[in-house]
Symmetry: C2
């Protein structure tokens, strides 16, 4: 049993996975501090979704940090000169990293979460990464998360003063997308308020063809749940 309303920082993109994680943290009794990032991403509709999700799930605070990854570049998600690929293939394996990989993104996100957690005296940081139905990003693997956790406990007061250790909680890491959706449905999530697409229309409608859309579609299908996503009309 955790004490009632211990604080926890939850990384939120407004997408399906992180929303499920927030519902899990809430269900475990944590006071949720939602943390999102504005990083020059094409999919800024994410941020609107993250705000909806934080309000919907009763987060104590929702904090959006502006970070400048556009100047660093190197990804189709932050560099406007690189096109987001459209694919009907299966997601790439771990040996082929797609161009939508943002260099060291999860490390930057978790570092900010660690800083906020230390100030809040929170010992749990929740992240919605997934190593099964994922897109081949190195920073979604369990061994990466364990290494981050170890580093985090050396980086902070916890490591010096012998406090409660910090835990990086990734409750979805070994679940399929369908299992994630089933768990979220059991917790009462309304997935229509979430946003996953890497390349939405101006109005925020999902493209239906990027890796993220394909994974999400497949998940709803396999879970036997009606897909509530609003897709653009396919014109080609």
């Amino acid at each position: 049993m955790i004490p009632k309303k211990s604080p926890a920082v939850v990384l939120s993109s407004g997408g399906l996975d992180s929303t499920t994680v927030m519902a899990i943290a809430k269900n475990e009794g944590y006071a949720v501090y939602s943390l999102s990032f504005s990083y020059g991403q094409r999919h800024s509709h994410e941020l609107a979704a993250a705000a909806r999700v934080a309000a919907n799930l009763g987060a104590v605070d929702h904090f959006i940090i502006q970070i400048d990854l556009a100047r660093i570049g190197g990804s189709a998600l932050t560099d406007k000169t690189i096109a987001v690929p459209k694919s009907v293939k299966a997601p790439m394996s771990a040996s082929r990293i797609p161009i939508t990989y943002v260099p060291a993104r999860n490390t930057i996100f978790l570092s900010y979460a660690l800083s906020w957690a230390e100030v809040l005296k929170a010992y749990d940081i929740f992240i919605g990464v997934n190593a099964i139905d994922y897109s081949g990003y190195p920073d979604c693997r369990p061994e990466y998360l364990l290494a981050f956790e170890k580093m985090a406990n050396l980086a902070t007061r916890a490591g010096v003063e012998g406090r409660t250790p910090i835990r990086i909680r990734a409750p979805l890491v070994k679940l399929s997308k369908a299992q994630i959706i089933q768990q979220g449905m059991a917790l009462g999530i309304d997935y229509s308020i979430t946003h996953s697409c890497y390349d939405p229309s101006m109005e925020g409608l999902a493209c239906g063809h990027c890796d993220s859309c394909l994974l999400r579609k497949k998940g709803f299908k396999e879970a036997g749940v009606a897909d509530p996503t609003r897709y653009q009309q396919r014109t080609r």
Copy 2:
């Protein structure tokens, strides 16, 4: 022998330590990419010093990332409601972390450096941390740096594609402040362009009494080098 002009990312605060590290990286033959942070710190004179240092040492690029630590708070260096302590005592031991500690700061800095390094195809990240004459920050210890390095190699393409591993280089970690200054003088550094004070005057003059000033003063004295720092007149 490293190939001529391999890129390296060097974290620069415009202070004595990181400037010495940049000179070391340059002396080893690296093309230096200087990375500084504007984080709502009281000591924004650091940034002017960092720009002087990058120009003086011939950095290929000097990148200042805006980061929002003021909203996170928790430190005298980022929270205007907490006073910077003045002390004539020796620096605190590792079991007492001073209020100038910024939660997870070096982790955030190194995470951005990692992201930039991955895009630049740089495998060396230099940081001027020091575990001898330091201020008791947990994220200055060798075991922390090793844990970050291990995590970094799992976080990035290096870890998946078997590329050259990323190294976190901390050449000052076991040197005293006096030894750092002696090494820097041998490399021709003009320390008058650097800035270390946590609580300078509006004009950028050092206070002479904060932990950072005390360590710096002591270093010059022990190195037998004239201190080029411009201090405020002591009025009390």
